[in-house]
């Protein structure tokens, strides 16, 4: 049996990381890079810093407080989804229906509001709706023994269609918008920090603690690393699968509510294409589609990188069609930087435990 640990996995799997030996010291010229290498999310952090530095050099307004606040606000919806999708991908599953669940929960909230519901009651019921959709994904996958990629591919359309069905295809907006709920998406703490960004940070912190410090988190890693071994060791993988998908539905509801809070409109179109953005962010952060690898912080950095690129390319005046091309290429470049740093760690003395 080969007991060596995959260095890429060791970077993002706390259990695996504990078996690596620290690399030897480097020359002073490499100090900064070495420090980044020792940091598990160093590669993606370097990509974020390089991207930010390039855009700032081209246009100093990029680094202005107001613009950074905009970026924070803009990534907050999908950032929440990236946190939960990290759980899903680490467990070896995938959820393609997340954007559609965002749409359904937003519409559910809007319809409840038009019926005169208290906004906070509507929030709770929308969160329950999100959890229910996630649970349905999980139960169908387990009961039918069909991979989640197939179930959620079907549900991507089913949930979006359901959003159109219950809204009759119309944006739902004929309700009072005076509640404090709408301030969350539209206002900023001290006029600087968007409340949606604060929600994202709190959500990410809780997610990171659960993933790294709890038994549940370690079981999710174990299941993603080797589902068969996890099953044999007594881990109920079906429960974990359903659990992470419920969590994903919950996050979708939070994102949907944040979007409605910001736009004041429950549009059934909200969330179209989010699944690809979110999965891209998590993969950029170093998670693997095969499971067992990834961290919440890395996924957030991945989402931040996408947000920086979208914002920066507009600021530097890239044409709308070239923007699509460049944003795709920058994502590949970012992943290449991340993998380069990882390989340096591996080649620079990341001695594997025997």
């Amino acid at each position: 049996m080969n007991s060596a640990v995959d260095p890429d996995q060791a970077r993002t799997n706390p259990a695996a990381a504990s078996t690596t030996v620290a690399p030897p010291s480097r020359s002073r010229g490499r100090a900064v890079l070495d420090r980044l290498q020792q940091f598990r999310e160093g590669g993606i952090l370097l990509a974020v810093l390089v991207t930010g530095a390039v855009f700032t050099a081209i246009d100093p307004r990029f680094i202005a407080i107001g613009n950074l606040g905009n970026i924070a606000s803009q990534i907050s919806f999908e950032g929440v989804l990236a946190v939960s999708m990290t759980f899903v991908l680490i467990s070896g599953e995938i959820d393609l229906s997340i954007g559609s669940m965002v749409g359904v929960t937003g519409v559910v909230f809007g319809l409840l509001m038009t019926q005169g519901a208290n906004p906070w009651v509507a929030v709770v019921l929308s969160l329950l709706a999100g959890c229910s959709m996630g649970a349905l994904n999980g139960v169908l996958s387990v009961a039918l023994r069909v991979p989640t990629i197939i179930i959620t591919l079907g549900m991507l359309n089913a949930y979006r269609g359901f959003a159109y069905l219950i809204s009759n295809g119309y944006p739902v907006e004929n309700y009072p918008k005076t509640s404090a709920f709408f301030s969350i998406g539209q206002d900023r703490l001290f006029g600087v920090v968007p409340y949606t960004a604060i929600i994202l940070l709190v959500f990410a912190l809780i997610g990171a603690v659960v993933l790294r410090q709890t038994v549940i988190g370690h079981r999710i890693y174990a299941m993603g690393s080797n589902p068969r071994a996890a099953q044999l060791s007594g881990i109920r993988t079906s429960r974990i699968r359903i659990g992470v998908l419920i969590f994903n539905g919950f996050a979708a509801a939070i994102a949907g509510l944040m979007a409605v809070s910001q736009t004041a409109t429950a549009d059934p179109n909200i969330g179209i294409g989010y699944e690809l953005d979110v999965i891209a962010a998590v993969i950029i952060g170093g998670a693997k589609l095969t499971g067992g690898s990834g961290t919440v912080l890395a996924s957030l950095l991945g989402m931040l990188l996408l947000g920086l690129i979208r914002n920066g390319l507009v600021l530097v005046g890239v044409s709308i069609y070239l923007l699509i091309v460049v944003s795709g290429l920058i994502v590949i470049l970012a992943v290449a930087i991340d993998r380069f740093v990882t390989r340096r760690r591996q080649g620079g003395g990341g001695v594997q435990a025997a």
Binding site: R61, P268, I270, I272, G317
Partner: protein, 340 residues
């Protein structure tokens, strides 16, 4: 033998025979004398575009008035390929008539012609497919190219009244930059700007063209980014989509900036609020409700009564909603249909 089952079978056979006879009668009768229940289709270019709600409402009101079944379909996201598939499905279903708002004036031509060849009359509204065999094109306002020209003329009138000179920078935004109607508005606007620039004491200068996305949250985010990038340089935002117009108003309001004129489109309820508050200069609109009522009245009269369909292009004049006519616009069926 069970008497009940005999009765049931007899009734079933009678019912089946009746249905066959009814179907035969319909298929052999002329359109004008048919008594069968009619199904008319409305094919939108985007199933959930809020701007098109009045069109749907107009069609729904006509369905209720005349008693035909209305089938509303549309692609989401808005692509010509999806819309072609929808037309093919409707042809297979043998609907009695179709009103279409094409995603692409050219790409939809073969599918429209196929439908017409199959004996299903087709008319276009809001966006034309002039090279197709559609019977008529009705727009409850100016043509989309003229909409752009009218906007440019109004912009020049506005800045001339302010006594402007020198260069006036502007950005142009679209939530669907590859859709024909948006391209028409852009080309109409840019062509008229060239004409007006030749004699105007100031020159309009485009400093950016942006895709803002149809997703409401992304549209807002993109508008924020464009404002950050160009807000300090521009005096005009020519916003070709309803959501763009609304979000430009919101962003200017958030930044307390009244130095930029938002020359936009569509009478979304929130846009009208922003016009009232002075954050949006104006929003050009067509009566999409009239497009629904007119098109479906013509189509119903044709398939139910044999009345000849109009041919060619039929249109009115677009209306600019601004602070002066805001109250009247709010009371229009178009705005009420959109929840205003």
């Amino acid at each position: 033998m069970n008497l009940q089952s005999v009765s049931f079978r007899t009734a079933a056979v009678a019912l089946g025979a009746g249905l066959v006879l009814t179907a035969c009668g319909n298929s052999s009768g002329s359109p004008g004398t048919s008594t069968k229940h009619l199904t008319l289709a409305l094919v939108l270019d985007d199933l959930t575009n809020p701007v098109e709600l009045p069109l749907r409402k107009g069609a729904e009101d006509m369905a209720a008035k005349y008693g035909f079944t209305l089938k509303v379909v549309g692609p989401s996201p808005s692509t010509a390929q999806q819309q072609i598939s929808l037309l093919q499905d409707l042809e297979t279903q043998k609907v009695d008539g179709t009103i279409i708002l094409p995603v692409d004036s050219t790409a939809l031509v073969p599918a429209i012609n196929s439908m017409v060849a199959a004996g299903i009359p087709v008319a276009a509204t809001e966006i034309d497919a002039p090279n197709s065999n559609r019977s008529f094109f009705y727009i409850g306002g100016s043509s989309t190219i003229d909409q752009g020209k009218l906007s440019a003329q109004r912009v020049f009138t506005y800045f001339k009244a302010k006594g402007s000179t020198g260069t006036i920078n502007y950005v142009l935004t679209s939530c669907l930059p590859t859709v024909t109607g948006q391209q028409d508005r852009r080309s109409g606007f840019e062509a008229e700007v060239q004409v007006e620039n030749a004699t105007s004491p100031f020159k309009l200068n485009q400093v950016g063209f942006y895709d803002t996305s149809t997703d409401p949250a992304k549209n807002f985010a993109n508008t924020q980014n464009i404002y950050t990038a160009k807000g300090s340089q521009i005096q005009l935002a020519y916003t070709m989509c309803g959501p763009d117009t609304q979000n430009w108003g919101k962003v200017l309001k958030a930044n307390n900036n009244k130095n930029i004129l938002v020359a936009g489109y569509d009478w979304l309820p929130a846009t009208l609020d922003l016009i009232g508050q002075g954050w949006v200069g104006w929003a050009q609109g067509n009566s999409l409700y009239a497009e629904g009522t007119y098109s479906f009245t013509q189509m119903y009269n044709h398939v139910a009564k044999g009345t000849a369909l109009p041919t060619g292009v039929i249109h009115g004049t677009s209306i600019f909603c601004d602070i002066n006519n805001l109250a009247a616009i709010r009371n229009s069926p178009d705005v009420k249909a959109a929840g205003g």
